[in-house]
Assembly symmetry: C2
Homo-oligomer: 294 residues x 2
DNA sequence: AAGCTGCATAAACCACCTTTATGCCATACA
DNA sequence: TGTATGGCATAAAGGTGGTTTATGCAGCTT
């Protein structure tokens, strides 16, 4: 047995205010409208809910049975509605990250997050210098374990391998060995000294080949640009696997050397402060994206 | 922040059924009406509550916040509504009593009970022979403590006194003493031998006067009739105080002898079986009526 | 490609909910 | 006693919002 839902609010207002007139004022209605609604509800249920007197209304025993459940239930609903509205007024979810990650990983995938969560407004702030996230913000930055707060988690471990464009390989000849690679033109990602990622120097050291940077070789300070240059056949780059995976898949780039991995460095997610549903949704989605990429 | 109450039902139905179309069928509406209501609610709140897909809807995180409170709250309301309806369908409150009590005490007061409890339908069954109440019934009958169930309670202890009409006294002369009363014409309430109330025999025995019934004196088997006869000046009656109080107040009858009381006999209320709000309301009202009569 | 199902949107319409007006009743006060 | 005030009920009028019908788009399955 259900009751016209509007009537529930009227019943509650009458109980709360004690007269039909005052209930109407609270609901933005006139007394006859309240009288009509209350009457309809009582007729529908087949029982009087309030006794009317010149001094106002008081509930009948049947009315009290209903009000005992109705008042707390409506209060609960109102609390939840306030919570929903407060959520909708949350500031946008701000993601801090570097240009490379933003351009090569996040932006191509963001449409998927937005279609799953259209209610979450997302702001992406890309920068050269990654600062730590403030409470409420989400930072996705390249770092090593120990550099971050304990609650940060590793999204993408570091995996690199030398890559070149097919046209460059055709002109250059085979680059089958680290020694052959040492003779090729290398593209460098210029970064501050405290940068934690693999560089060519580090790569050759791992393969016991001495190779220093030649003058005239291209150096770029944004990984996005490094990828553009290698695609254009300007040399061999150290490919950051999760970021260049689409180019490998399409054949625009081919591996020209073995892969190197590190488990304690990579892109980490830190998200200080309270975790709103938006924060949780983003974390969940990020994990899904990595998992589905295999 | 409140929401159109009709929308709450729509939101709940969409969550329960998983598609707008099926929710509409359950609510007796079409899909576009559901779509419109849901849209209005979402616009009002400023946040999407459901994600729509070809396969149906699933709640957003904000939707889940609301549903966590809404589903149990609406369930509580529905339970209370069902309870109210069940109450309204209770059989009438059946009161069993004798003709004297019904006619002289209960009926004159019943309007007051009905105005306080218009939702309670009352049935009065008066009879010469009072049977015990069945579960759900309420019996108000003359009895002595020990004859009834332990839950029965004494409504009106027995208080009697000789009364006559002023016209009878004017014709007869003063009846100041039990001996003078013995010479008067007495009106008798004829009852079965197991009757427990005061009779004239008992009254005279208490006053050490031998008085037996004279032939030709009027005997009546209903107390209502006894009261009519004494009002008509046909003799002196043993007045049952609670029942004749209005006549004493009005002067239609005057006392012509001392009052006798007994505390273990009188009108008792027995009400076996579950005590519905109706039963409780009646008991409460009965106590109030006795208390306000002093 | 065809068929089915789900949701969104626009236009039309009508039922019902609200307002205005009025009357009755009870209470308080001068 | 008469007047004023406040509360509820009822009737009539009207207008608007909620519903239906029609249509189109998208996704999925066979």
């Amino acid at each position: 047995m259900q009751l016209d839902p509007a009537a529930l609010r009227v019943i509650e207002a009458v109980a709360r205010h004690g007269t039909l007139t005052r209930a109407g004022a609270a609901l933005g209605m006139t007394q006859p409208a309240v009288s009509y609604q209350l009457r309809r509800a009582e007729d529908h249920l087949g029982v009087a809910l309030f006794l009317r007197s010149q001094a106002g209304c008081r509930p009948t025993p049947a009315g009290e049975v209903l009000l005992r459940a109705l008042l707390p239930a409506l209060a609960q609903i109102d609390v939840a509605l306030a919570e929903v509205v407060a959520l909708s007024r949350q500031p946008a979810l701000r993601i801090l990250t570097d240009f490379g990650f933003a351009g090569l990983w996040l932006m191509p995938r963001l449409a998927r997050f937005r279609s799953q969560h259209p209610e979450i407004e997302v702001q992406i702030t890309a920068a050269q210098e990654n600062r730590a996230a403030r409470p409420g913000e989400v930072a996705i930055r390249f770092a090593r374990a120990g550099d971050l707060d304990a609650s940060a988690w590793l999204l993408l471990p570091e995996r690199v391998l030398p890559v070149a464009a097919p046209a460059y390989l055709a002109a250059q000849g085979p680059l089958d060995t680290p020694a052959a690679l040492a003779s090729a033109t290398l593209l460098h990602l210029d970064a501050p000294p405290e940068a934690r990622w693999f560089t060519w120097t580090g790569w050759f050291a791992e393969h016991a080949v001495a190779r220093s940077r030649r003058s005239g070789e291209l150096g770029l300070n944004t990984y996005d640009f490094v990828v553009q240059a290698v695609l254009a056949g300007q040399g061999v780059a150290l490919g950051w696997l999760p970021l260049i995976a689409p180019h490998l898949d399409s054949g625009a780039l081919v591996p020209v050397g073995p892969e190197l991995r590190r488990q304690d460095t990579g892109y980490w997610v830190e998200s200080p402060g309270p975790q709103t549903p938006g924060h949780k949704a983003l974390a969940h989605w990020l994990r899904d994206e990595v998992a589905s990429a295999g």
